[in-house]
Amino acid sequence: MTGLREKILTTASNLFQTQGINSTGVDTIVAVAGTTKMTLYKYFGSKEVLILEVLKQGHLDFQNWLNDKLSNNTKQPSEKLQKLFDYIEEWVTSPDFHGVGFIKASAEFPQEDNPVHQLSSQQSQQFKQYIHHLATEANIKDAEGLSLQLSLIFEGAVQAEQMKRGSGAIKYAKTAAKILIDGASTQ
């Protein structure tokens, strides 16, 4: 039975990424997953809960992937910050990239009191905190300022790529991030 839950989650995640969250109805999800509405509601209760679960899983997968990449390919803590945008670029330019869940969800649910919007904002903050952690490890004096600058560059580049695939925004984001990191390292 857990397998069926996973299947609904994966199917919904793929459909949300490729077709948009609001444009994907529950009927489509159950049809593609080969299950029934009753089963979907049994596991998730509502479409909103399903969206929240998809976002949580997507964010967890992204953070784990990034963590593994940085831990396995760097020796010094300071290298992680320098390599961060290398791996982000690798991910954004891969054929499987369909956008970042929390950025897309935030745009589709702009109302601040909406739970999906709230979770998106929370995940955006978590990503900024992750950069803050890397900056602190790299002994950056203004880790707070740098993490805000890098997260703004990251989110802007991803939005640009979401709007126009292959825009090159992520390439320049990587160079700009290096300029900011180098500048912050000398302070």
Partner: protein
């Protein structure tokens, strides 16, 4: 007030403010963040304005024109990225007024401008030398060293004085030649922009141009007064000399203007 006017980033007044904000395209792009920052602090502004997620065509096309004027590699990408950053930062500023997000966004935008306009930082070229070639170079070097050991004592006295003079002059010349061709690193550029940025915030007294050598005049006018990035390290050193001679008063401009 119609819908378009109430959207902060869609207003034609914003374009008017940007156009008169600076004499340089870089300055006009970066002013977007200052104007939004001031705007969001104004009393009752948030009651009447909002930030929509729509494509701000007017602002975008204005920013593309500025990005083209400053010679960006991909003006559309730069303009789009800057507008997105400005919108995201303004939204953060509304949600967390103490985050100072628009000023950090300005730094991020400045780095994006540099990423699209400065020449790539010099990289160390890895020479692919195969082993036989490496061995032959080593053998030639060994022969040369051997020959110099035999001939050196004979030539030593005769050449010593001349050599000492030539060495000093060669070192100076080669240092200058390297500086004249070497482009600025990202760090040099960032530091220079930080100085320009600081000067923009103050009221500055510039040295007299007439007393400067001709070469220095051009560098001084372009890289110090107009705030353009020097082309190489030699020009950077000269520009820095004059930057140090400038005296600025940093009484906040808004305060000065309100008097």
């Amino acid at each position: 007030m119609n819908n378009e006017d109430s959207d902060l980033l869609g207003s034609s007044w914003l374009i008017y403010m940007l156009a008169k904000s600076s004499n340089t395209p870089e300055g006009r792009l970066l002013s977007l963040f200052d104007i939004l920052n001031d705007w969001l602090k104004a009393p009752n502004m948030l009651k009447h304005c909002h930030l929509s997620n729509t494509n701000h065509a007017l602002l975008l096309s204005y920013c593309i024109a500025q990005a083209q004027a400053l010679g960006a590699e991909s003006p559309e990408t730069l303009a789009e990225h800057i507008v997105l950053i400005a919108r995201n930062a303004a939204q953060q500023n509304i949600a967390h007024p103490l985050s100072n997000s628009l000023m950090h966004a300005k730094k991020a935008a400045n780095a994006l401008i540099l990423a699209q306009t400065q020449p790539p930082a010099p990289t160390q070229v890895k020479r692919a030398v195969n082993k036989p070639v490496a061995y032959s170079i080593a053998a030639t070097l060994a022969l040369a060293i051997g020959a110099s050991l035999i001939w050196a004592p004979m030539l030593k006295d005769q050449q010593l004085a001349t050599h000492a003079r030539a060495e000093t002059s060669d070192t100076n010349n080669s240092k200058q030649a390297v500086a004249a061709t070497q482009p600025l690193t990202a760090q040099d550029a960032t530091q220079m922009y930080a100085k320009f940025e600081l000067m923009r915030q103050g009221s500055c007294q510039f040295p007299e141009v007439l007393q400067m050598p001709d070469k220095h005049k051009a560098i001084y006018l372009e890289n110090v007064v107009a705030g353009k990035l020097p082309a190489n390290l030699e020009d950077l050193a000269i520009a820095n000399e004059y930057l140090e001679k400038i005296r600025c008063n940093y009484t906040p401009m808004l305060m000065a203007a309100s008097k």
